[in-house]
């Protein structure tokens, strides 16, 4: 019922020796290396297994895409999909001069979203959300290392995040080809943030379902669904709140790595983030309202049950008593001898029942 994992994940207890703490989500690590400017575009994709690890790293580092001197406007993006091989990530880290703590944060997939400024690069960690197969929300960590025009991104690998973004890079005339590495990092962040809106669509659908259930046949199951959505909004809030501080940092800290001309784009993402937070708060309040509706309809049901019981019992108990009276075996009971006694008693009972019904009508129970 409650899906703890995205909320309480185990955290690597021994800092100092980077270990991967999440699940293994892909079999092989895929590294895609792209180098582009507004004219050229080169790409290389390397698959890493445990066996060819060492050689592959050399492969990556010595490939012309990485090694050749880049012109000022050229962007190099290395995307690594799959984090289970800690040794490989460590090696990549040391080659690209990434701080040991950053490597730990990349490998520890239970980390909180954050941005950190190491003099030589900017480190960004975010949560990418998606709908799990069983309907729940799956959370995946995306880490970005931004060294002016070299960008390394690390994903756990469960989802195809960057297909659309990759296609946009193919377009020679696109903004992305002209604006440098900071714009690419904006595009990556934006891709992640936009996924939140898809989840909202799913949540909105489920809320409509719950609404119908509340109207037609509210049950304990309905409440479970409401709780589930509450937990989802909890996960989303936990994933997006820190991004707000992160975006502010990127926008207002005057970082040399982010060009003045690209700031409006980061501001745009920030607007989306604030909008998401707004929606989450609204969703939470609406779920609380649904909860109240549920409680009210349950207690309404109870009231109805009690009403039926009370009406039936209140009408028949006195009647039964009257019947009981004339069922007594006293020797001397004058009424019993009367010719019309039986019918008189039936009539009396009818009148009694009638009075009761009028009483209930007045009480608006009928």
């Amino acid at each position: 019922m409650f899906n703890f994992n995205p909320l309480i994940k185990k955290v690597n207890p021994s800092p100092g020796m980077p270990v991967h703490t999440g699940e293994k989500k892909v079999e092989e690590i895929k590294v895609s290396i792209i180098r582009y400017d507004n004219k050229t575009l080169n790409e290389k994709i390397i698959t890493i297994t445990e066996k060819n690890r060492k050689q592959s790293i050399d492969n990556i580092y010595n490939s012309s895409l990485v090694k050749n001197k880049r012109k000022k406007s050229q962007v190099l993006w290395i995307n690594i999909k799959g984090l289970h091989d800690a040794e490989f990530i460590n090696e990549i880290g040391s080659r690209f001069e990434i701080h040991n703590l950053t490597i730990e944060d990349i490998l520890n997939t239970a980390h909180r979203p954050k941005v950190e400024d190491f003099d030589k690069y900017l480190f960004i960690a975010m949560k990418s959300l998606s709908l799990g197969k069983s309907g729940g929300i799956a959370s995946e960590q995306l880490s970005i290392v931004l060294k002016s025009d070299i960008i390394l991104s690390f994903q756990e690998g469960g989802e195809k995040l960057f297909t659309a973004l990759r296609n946009r890079i193919d377009n020679v005339k696109g903004r992305i080809r002209k604006r440098g590495g900071d714009y690419l990092s904006y595009a990556i962040i934006d891709t992640i943030i936009d996924r939140y809106f898809f989840i909202f669509n799913k949540i909105a659908e489920q809320m409509e379902d719950i609404e119908k259930e509340l109207l037609e046949n509210p049950s304990h199951e309905t409440l479970k669904k409401i709780q589930e959505l509450k937990n989802y909004s909890l996960i989303m809030r936990k994933s997006i709140w820190p991004v707000r501080d992160m975006m502010r940092y990127l926008i207002y800290e005057d970082l040399p790595i982010i060009k003045e001309i690209n700031i409006p784009f980061f501001r745009d993402v920030n607007d989306h983030v604030v909008h998401i937070i707004d929606i989450i708060e609204s969703v939470k309040e609406m779920l609380t309202g649904m909860h109240d509706m549920y409680l009210s309809s349950i207690s309404n049901k109870m009231n109805e049950i009690m009403k039926v019981l009370t009406i039936i019992a209140t009408i028949f108990i006195p009647l039964t008593f009257v019947a009981g009276i004339y069922g007594m075996n006293f020797k001397f009971m004058p009424e019993l001898e009367w010719k019309w006694g039986y019918f008189a008693s039936l009539g009396f009972m009818l009148i009694l029942a009638g009075i009761m019904l009028i009483f209930f009508k007045r009480k608006k129970w009928l």
Copy 2:
């Protein structure tokens, strides 16, 4: 029941290519161009359909109202009603040198209210609320681009927002004719904000209705209405909160585009905004109070039902038992033979019932 749309609207998932994301609210786009100073006033209204789009844009741009050199005190206001034709809006944007992101924000009608300072202009987005036909709250986006004395405003088109404002401009002696473009933008914002108070009047009416229902005949429907109002106040809060920051920005940032002399007017709008927020908070607390009253009256009803059942059952069950005793068929039951046995038993029952009634009276159940 719950009206999600104003809360969770779809957001354009692909930044980079401005697309209109809201519903199409009018058939034709209407562009009204007004140019005025404290002496002259010229106006031109152009209707744009898909066919005459290209030509119309030239028409707008080359009209003497837009093209002729303006004197220092002259204000040019272009109001565009209807946003469904993204291409047209894009074209307008590029002619008036509006940033691509601003165009996206204008077209994405699910945006959060905000103000943004692009060096050449100030961009303001707000939500204009109105009462929908089915009683709910309809939300419409209004965007303003303020370039010193050129003002472009973009409305979705569902509502006639500016009739009163337009009339005020006709008045040659009005303040609006003397104070320039920033005053006009104040007047536009003020028009939007004042609409919130009309909604409050409607909400107040509905609250009075609910109050009566709570006193007379509270039902599950009453709670639904309370929840609905809660959702309305949610929508209003979501629409007005960001405006607060917006107004503060306009007032305290010392923007060159807003003249010192007009600041008190913006401060006045800000007072209204804060007042609206205050009222929303009060409404929320009063609705919570109503919810409590509802719950209490439901449980009171339940208590009353239980009381009736208990009184009837508690009186008649023992009596029925007594009647049952004398309905037994034992051979040797002395009472049955007594002459006055029957009446004695009836008397005994009466006394029993009397004791019960006194007991209930003491318990204050009667």
Copy 3:
């Protein structure tokens, strides 16, 4: 039941043309003009009707009290009681060079408390609370225009606010005669704030009544009273919260109009304001506690009702069954023939009832 008016008042929808938006609370406008220093004191009271309006204004403006050159230490206080004649207020405003927006705020009695610094004067708006006739809280707006040693105050007129203050001015040796216009404005504010404590006394009394009701005979009415007090505290909070910011502004902004020597007095008022806010929060929490007590005693009552029903039913239903058994008409029922069968059955029933009673005793239901 719920008193909306003080919470949601209509607000003048058309800024630009000052109109009075509240109720007309007095028939005639009374203007009292007082001019004093630590030696002299002159006073003039003028009554304004619609007919003599024009002449009266001249009267006020040209009276020696207003027109004559004042010595440095002399204070001129013009108190206007009654705001329904917008034209008169407008005229006063233009004579004393008060900004149009200030006039609007004076006339719009639904305004939020605030302080505003127009270079030439300080504008202060507050809510004066009093107990209405029907027991509710009545709210009235008091506006102060402070131009160094000229003070204009505007009251709606429903209440005699300044009797005590007026008497204190009569006292030649009083602090008020020596300390100038800013001290007078402090004294006015202090008068308004002190009225809040009287309301607290009333609320405390009502809370004690509710307490007694909760102990003796809690009913749905009790909850209504609790809700009413909650609404009162809502009104008070809404009226006092903005005053806090206002006082801070007066104290910390180093306004030239408020003399250093009088700051401690404003600080003293601020202490009162913070104290009031504290009390309101406490009152709110205590009312919540009372609400909980109410709910608990209602559910206790319910439990007691159920207990009585259960005890009676549980004792007599089995007994009635036994009686039913021996009321059956089978030909062959050996017990019926026994001589002591009847008494044996009665004895059996007694034992059964006794067992039940012991059971209930153990359950602590008796």
Copy 4:
């Protein structure tokens, strides 16, 4: 039940003429004058009645302890116990050059804790809490006027606050003898703050009692006790929150009156204050938890009652019906003639009852 007094006390409605607003807690005012440095210690105790007031004031002011020129390291502490004689306090105030507003604050015992910096002295007001005789919390105001090395403290007089502190001063080698007047004021504040922990011990005891009651026999009384503790924590919070700001002011404002070397002691008190606030929040949440437990056990009781009723009724109502059938007087009822009809019917009833019991067992109601 609810103890309003410490929450809503009457406040002096007429500022300008200091009047004592609390209860008279002692018969006679006791003034103790102590003058000490790290070598010498002199003390004088004067009792003031209405008759000897004037003379006593002269007595105080002219005593060698007060009048003689003090050496740099000498501290003069005048502690006044009993505030009911406003005239006396006023006189003391004017002799020691205390601002009129400070005198008012000293006499108005409903004041909020605060610190105020008058150029010549520092004024500190605090609430000293103690356990009242009837078990409630009694609140008393303590005011301190700190003029470098002259300290005046004013207590209402209900409690012996300073016995332990006085003893510490006797100790020639104690820190208190060497560190000057600011250290003494720290010691006074610390004495007051430490009393809060004693109250927590009492509250903890009561919470343990409530816990036991919740486990054994929860009743409406239990809830009353919980509410009472909630009110206590309300009083405590109200008394301690402002002290936090006060301590911060004393620590961070760089007041000349507080020596750098003594700052760590004030910081230590501040730690205690923050700790107290923490505990109050925890206590509040635990009381809320207890409230929930109470509600749950009440509804559990209800459920149990309903279960018993349902089991008894559900078993016997059908049986009684069966008995009723064979109690009918139809001429032709074949079963009645059967030899074993009676026992067959009894057996049938037993089986019916057995089925019911199995049903209840399955439902886990038994």
Copy 5:
């Protein structure tokens, strides 16, 4: 049930004379002295009893590890396990020039986590949490005195906190051997913080258990467990919140004692702290959700009980009435004489019961 101790501990009421306020957790005090740089490592462990106290202190202070002049890169760590001997701690304090107030804070184990900057050293106090034997959370105080490269740590002694850390120091190539005393203090803090995650694992397990109980057989016990977890999260929050401010202080205050190069490590701990706070908030909301689920399932149970009672009673009460009718002893009752009267009445009853059943089916009660 509620475990008060970690929340409300007694606090030393008499400041000025340091006394140990917690429980005695170990029999003997163990002092371990370690001195290391990136090449050498020396260690000495001394056990202190009351008898050898004086001598042991000399032993410590005069040992070559402590006394010999240290090279720039050498770190001296003295860890003291056991705080019950106040005299010993006082002596240690005076030898290492620790302020009296710090000694008090070390001995007062109910202190709030904090950091304090005494010019000569930095004092850090934290709470180390662990799972108590009886399942509850045990809290222990850890104090650190950091004087550039001398570190004194004081633990109550109930837990073996530093085994893993000690092992890491043994590793000659480890980061810890090269980075100086501030890194060691980071490592100590990190060790304490990481323990919180173990507690979360335990809480997550218990939440899963509760979840199962909620699904299968919710009872009052389930609520008790939920409350217990709420209290745990209360304790955790109380222990971790102040650490946040503490970490910020260490990171942003530019303390000379913490080297620039080690700041990222403190930042890393800070991330963990913020993460812990996030998780606690999530746990709290999930527990609230569980509470709601519990309440709902309890009221569902109640509804079911009521339904069974109502169905049984509503079916059989009218039938019993019919049977009662024909049990009456009137002389003239035509039906009784009919041959098929008995079977007709039985048939009528069957039809009546059938109608009821259809009615219940429609109501969805069956």
